[in-house]
């Protein structure tokens, strides 16, 4: 690997943020575990996407700060920061007619100056990103022609070519079929294991979050409700209080991780009583 | 997210929160509008580039033309009448178009209908040697109808139907192309070159009774048809499917109201040139006053349009004294901010 397995630490200190008059985050303090895979979950409008946007400096906080290895990210030059912290928004838009190779090459943007030319290490980074995402064979294919899972892999490859220690992803699995969701999450786990990239993602699907993340952050009403290992965070009480959903949490028969089963009013409750 | 979202009834969010105004309120508003219109007419006769006294006004209105002042005032009477008729016709036409396309930005000027009428009239003048208003009107009607159908068809072919953005763009594109063609026809013809001026900006200056009489039957027909279509527009506002479910023949309703709208705006363009934004602004203002029921909205718009255009004309005469500002410029200045206000008020998805 061409880059060291350095773990950057990301802290949020007394973060308050929002849009116009609406305050979405209220005094959030947290530390993202370095070198781990962290998933942020919570009901709609609880502030999870806003938290991710503030952590990735897309949204400046009204109070508090985000520290990357002790430096406020809003004080760092953007290009400098982009070499250390990558961000992939929810369903990004590819320009018409762009090929996978070109898209992934765009990830080298922060590493290039005003007029410097493409260098061998840029090529190396792109090849590595393509191979890590198993996209080599598709390098010359246009992004519009890819399947949903392949397209998301191409975007992740672009973020990888950026060669950052931290990668933030906003709902990387939305609009994907379940097989593609698993494909993407497996890929992210591989990256985390092989490169030590710190991964932070907002996920909708609780059970997938519990299964793939080392750390779960459950958010409610603009603040952290609970944070820790999946087994500690994903509890019936949490789901009831955060999502307002009657539920039962059992051990996943395959992985042993917690698994939430919603109990609707017609959930056939008799069958799951133990 | 895609900008275009499924079309929804344009007025639903405007009216659903407000209760329909009571009859008594509507009558009060109607009375107020009539008084305002009379006032506007009085102003229009009294004020102009030349300052005149009360005696001269009275003399001119009672038919005696002896002094220069009397003559100036007398010439203002047909002008006032034309402004009044044009304003009323354009406003109703705009209101009908908004209902028909279920689109808050519909207006004969913005949708390219006036440009179509202008092109057809210029073609008539250049190629068929027509030279009086009575013949202009037929060309204007044909051009306006073609442009209206064309713009609406282009905007609705795309997936998601005719959104406000698409209609406005299609209107702008068609207007650009048609006015280029209009210029292209006039340009090589030195004999009719002076016409360009009058097709750039519309105005009611120098109006004569001879200019008003030929358009009257068309306006009357347009008015009757539009008022007949009002009930159908109310149903169309609920969406095509609902309207059909309630027993309305949607295509027929559309065709009828489109004919009404074109009959109202094309003769005005033939007589005055392109006047924009009246059809956009007035129905919106009247909707705030009278609610969204087209049976009320259209008559109110007629009053409102007459007031707006008459006052705009007076304003144009007063601002630039001793010169005159064409009324088309004044309405553009009043209309564009309203247009922008409407755009700003709407949710992004609805654009």
């Amino acid at each position: 690997m061409s880059h060291p397995m350095s773990h950057s630490s990301l802290h949020a200190q007394t973060l308050t943020a929002g849009y116009a008059e609406r305050r979405v985050l209220d005094n959030v303090n947290l530390t993202i575990p370095a070198g781990q895979c962290t998933a942020i979950v919570g009901a709609n409008a609880c502030g999870k996407s806003t938290l991710l946007r503030v952590l990735s400096r897309l949204l400046p906080p009204s109070q508090g700060q985000v520290l990357l290895d002790g430096t406020d990210i809003h004080r760092l030059p953007t290009r400098h920061l982009a070499k250390r912290l990558g961000f992939l928004p929810q369903s990004p838009i590819a320009p018409d007619g762009i090929t996978v190779l070109e898209l992934v090459s765009r990830g080298r943007h922060p590493h290039q100056g005003l007029f410097n030319r493409w260098r061998p290490e840029d090529d190396a980074a792109v090849v590595e990103a393509l191979s890590a995402t198993h996209m080599e064979a598709l390098a010359d294919v246009q992004v519009d022609e890819l399947s949903g899972g392949q397209r998301q892999r191409a975007w992740i490859a672009m973020a990888l070519a950026q060669q950052t220690d931290v990668l933030l992803l906003d709902e990387p699995t939305t609009f994907l079929d379940i097989n593609h969701q698993i494909e993407v999450l497996d890929l992210l786990t591989d990256l985390n294991h092989s490169r030590g990239t710190t991964i932070v993602m907002v996920l909708h699907e609780l059970n997938l979050a519990a299964r793939y993340a080392d750390t779960l952050i459950a958010m409610a009403k603009g603040n952290v409700y609970a944070m820790g290992a999946a087994a500690e965070v994903l509890t019936a009480t949490m789901v009831r209080e955060v999502f307002g959903l009657e539920n039962r949490v059992i051990a996943d028969p395959v992985t042993g991780k917690p698994m939430m089963i919603p109990l609707g009013r017609h959930g056939g409750v008799a069958h799951v009583q133990d | 997210m895609p900008i275009c979202s499924p079309m929804r009834p344009a007025r639903a969010n405007d009216t659903s929160v407000r209760r329909a105004p009571r009859l008594s309120r509507r009558l009060t508003v109607a009375c107020a509008l009539v008084v305002l219109l009379l006032l506007a007419m009085a102003l229009s006769v009294a004020f102009g580039a030349r300052q005149v006294g009360l005696a001269e006004i009275i003399a001119a209105v009672s038919g005696r033309v002896e002094t220069l002042g009397d003559a100036a005032v007398a010439s203002r009477i047909p002008r006032t009448l034309l402004a009044l008729l044009a304003g009323a016709a354009l406003a109703i036409s705009g209101g009908v178009m908004q209902g028909l396309t279920r689109n808050p930005l519909a207006d004969p000027g913005l949708l390219g209908v006036n440009a179509g009428a202008a092109l057809a009239v210029v073609m008539g003048i250049a190629w068929f040697r027509i030279d009086d208003l009575a013949h202009y009107i037929w060309f204007a009607l044909g051009g306006a109808a073609l442009a209206a159908v064309g713009v609406y068809a282009i905007a609705s072919v795309a997936r998601g139907g005719a959104t406000p953005l698409r209609l406005a763009l299609a209107g702008a594109a068609v207007t650009a192309a048609l006015s280029s063609l209009t210029t292209a026809i006039i340009l090589p013809r030195g004999d009719i070159g002076g016409l360009v001026q009058s097709w750039l900006v519309g105005g009611v200056g120098g109006a004569t009774y001879a200019q008003i009489l030929p358009i009257l039957p068309f306006l009357l027909a347009g008015l009757v048809i539009s008022l007949l279509a009002a009930r159908k527009l109310n149903l169309l506002a609920l969406g095509d499917d609902t309207a059909a479910g309630l027993g309305e023949k949607v295509a027929l309703a559309r065709a009828l109201s489109a004919i009404g709208a074109v009959l109202l705006c094309a003769p005005v363009t033939a007589a005055c040139g392109p006047i924009g934004f009246v059809g956009l602004v007035v129905p919106h203002a009247c909707r705030l006053l009278a609610g969204g029921d087209y049976r009320w909205l259209l008559p109110f718009s007629a009053l409102g349009g007459a007031i707006l255009l008459t006052l705009s004309d007076v304003l144009g005469r007063l601002i630039a004294r001793p010169d005159e500002l064409d009324v088309g410029i004044v309405t553009a200045f009043i209309g564009a901010p309203v247009f922008i206000w409407i755009v700003r008020r709407r949710k992004v998805g609805a654009l």
Binding site: H80, V127 | I3, L169, A173, D326, A332
Partner: protein, 348 residues
């Protein structure tokens, strides 16, 4: 992972990249050849034919009776101003379209060219200015209109649809102002009016090339220095920010440069309809480039104005200003965009 396949992949990748850039240069070369051919055509063949050798001699300074005036005073200034203004419009258009990720957001549709035209006409008719002062007035007015559009369409962020609609509204208003000013001008002439309403190269002078060249150097250079940011911006603001683009600075620079280009060109030739709007999309289809289309769009813009003017002068039954030709050409494409545009996700 072993070293062998990695280097094979590298070689493959280099090959792909090489092929792409070769393709791009081929297309650019083709455009350049077309442009050169167009210039030769406009210099040699007008109402009379002048052999290339004679043209060369005239341009070299030789005095050839009967030809010198035609070539030096009529044809050459026209061709030079066409190239300069076209390149300016093309660059301005593609910069706006890329920045706002919407093919409809070109300066001629959202009213920025109209604003520049109104400013220029106001400076000439009301303030009786001429020369560089007119260009400055055009730039000032265009910047003002750009700012106004931006402020008016800002409501917790700017969306393309709202910005375009507000631009159309403002544009309608400004057009009637221009028309009014022109009609009130003491020496109204149809040719002059057409120039400010639709754009025309009639009466082009060689000294007009200077401001155009300056605009291309300063503002074009500014855009070129931001070309990587423009590349990144084509993928959306969030992705671009994630890649280290300083959004605020990039937007301000790009808008300033694009407005400057459109305004200077408008001050010289009037708002030549739809060149800014057409150049980017045509360049995209010609080069199939995913990157910034600055250079190709500039070439296409120059070609459009050059050929449009030539067609307007010699290929049609009467002589028309270039803006009428491009206006009639551009409208169908705009309509096609509206019809095709089922998904607003297409970027250019």
């Amino acid at each position: 992972m072993s070293a062998r396949p990695e280097s094979a992949a590298l070689a493959h990748l280099r090959q792909l990249r090489h092929r792409r850039s070769q393709q791009l240069w081929q297309r650019l070369g083709l455009l350049g050849v077309c442009l050169f051919a167009g210039v030769v055509l406009t210099l040699t063949l007008g109402q009379s034919y002048t052999p290339v050798t004679t043209v060369m001699r005239v341009l070299g300074g030789a005095e050839v009776p009967g030809v010198g005036f035609t070539v030096r005073e009529l044809r050459l200034p026209r061709a030079v101003v066409a190239l300069g203004a076209g390149a300016c419009f093309g660059l301005a258009g593609v910069a706006f379209q890329t920045l706002l990720r919407n093919p409809l957001a070109s300066p001629d549709i959202i009213g920025i060219s109209t604003g520049a035209s109104t400013g220029a006409v106001f400076a000439i008719v009301v303030l009786s200015l001429n020369g560089p002062a007119v260009s400055l007035a055009a730039i000032g007015a265009a910047l003002g209109v750009a700012l106004l559009i931006y402020l008016l369409s800002w409501r917790q962020g700017v969306t393309g649809g709202r910005l375009i609609l507000i631009g159309i509204g403002l544009s309608a208003m400004l057009q009637s102002v221009t028309a009014y000013l022109l009609m009130r001008a003491p020496n109204w002439s149809l040719q002059e009016a057409l120039r400010w309403m639709t754009g025309s190269l009639n009466g082009a002078r060689l000294d007009q090339a200077l401001p155009l060249l300056a605009a291309l150097l300063v503002f074009g250079g500014l855009l070129l220095s931001r070309r990587r940011d423009l590349d990144a911006l084509r993928m959306g603001d969030d992705v671009a920010a994630g890649l280290g683009v300083h959004l605020g600075a990039a937007r301000v620079t790009i808008v300033l440069a694009a407005v400057g280009l459109a305004a200077v060109a408008t001050a010289m030739t009037g708002p030549i309809a739809f060149v800014a709007f057409l150049a980017g999309p045509i360049a995209l289809r010609l080069t199939r480039q995913s990157g910034a289309l600055l250079l190709p769009a500039a070439l296409v813009g120059a070609l459009l104005v050059l050929l449009g003017d030539y067609a307007g002068q010699f290929l049609l039954p009467a002589r028309y200003p270039v803006g009428i030709v491009t206006g009639v050409l551009g409208a169908p494409y705009l309509l096609y965009l509206i019809v095709r545009d089922g998904n607003a996700r297409r970027t250019l």
